[in-house]
Assembly symmetry: C2
DNA sequence: GCACACACGTGACTC
DNA sequence: TGAGTCACGTGTGTG
């Protein structure tokens, strides 16, 4: 299967691998300045509600407890998931979709919508011949019994 | 203007603020283990083509020169930009769009496409009465002069 | 090996 | 103030 659902595939097994980064510790740190393995006391402190300030000084006053940080991570993950879900759903609606890139899905969706709108306009025009009788092709002239129900 | 183009707004001025993080240094590090302010030699080395290995050891063998890293950042930025552009374009096509969240845009696009498809199907059915005469609603039974051109 | 695409965690901003 | 959203940089898998 060369191309089924790129998002799904990537998502499914990538998350799993991400959840177990290396067996070391939690995914904290990463930007908490220099989190050396010599000062885990900070993390321990964070775990029961301390602020994430690096004990010394910080560039900003965005103090977050570990619970809040975790919540933030979780919320963002949820959001991403929803987005991906929508992308998949959208991709199933578009016909002749070759690549499953997000950009392609989006672009093709745009084109498809435009095409559909055009089609609707054309069909509506044909169906509701309110154009001046002089201009319309006289296929059936007298047979117009106006079967509209309203 | 309460809601024009959320993406555009955020993007435009956020990037600018991001480009000047704090006046300290480049945005490197962040995950290169513990980048203490005591070892800036690494960055200096990176700048002329050295690998990004933290001199001691690394979890992976994803060695990248600073140029490559920068290129990566740039490429990703480009991709993001394209995505956002498509989102904006798509949002302009959808009628009665209240919120401009990405999720909402996506979801409403899906609904809109479905609605349009339904519309097209209905209109086509009305326009092209090629269904067996026995099954079709006999609005006009005898007046059928078969005006099809094919 | 390199270009591309993706998910992730995170700081920032809005309401 | 807190929950929701965004762009960003980054690590990593795929062709």
């Amino acid at each position: 299967m060369p191309a089924k659902n790129q998002f799904e595939n990537l998502n499914t097994f990538k998350v799993v691998k991400r959840e177990v980064p290396s067996g070391t510790t939690i995914n904290f740190s990463s930007s908490v300045n220099s989190m050396d393995d010599s000062d885990f006391g900070d993390i321990e402190a964070m775990r029961f509600g301390a602020a994430v300030t690096t004990t010394t000084d910080q560039k900003k006053s965005y103090n977050r407890t570990s619970v809040q940080a975790q919540d933030h991570v979780l919320a963002e993950r949820k959001r991403r998931e929803r987005l991906t879900q929508r992308f998949i759903a959208l991709s199933t609606l578009i016909p002749n979709l070759k690549k499953l890139d997000k950009a392609t899905v989006l672009g093709d969706a745009i084109q498809y919508i435009k095409q559909l709108e055009e089609q609707v306009k054309t069909l509506e025009e044909k169906n509701k011949p309110e154009i001046p009788a002089a201009k319309r092709p006289r296929l059936v002239s007298s047979c117009d019994d106006s079967s509209s129900s309203g």
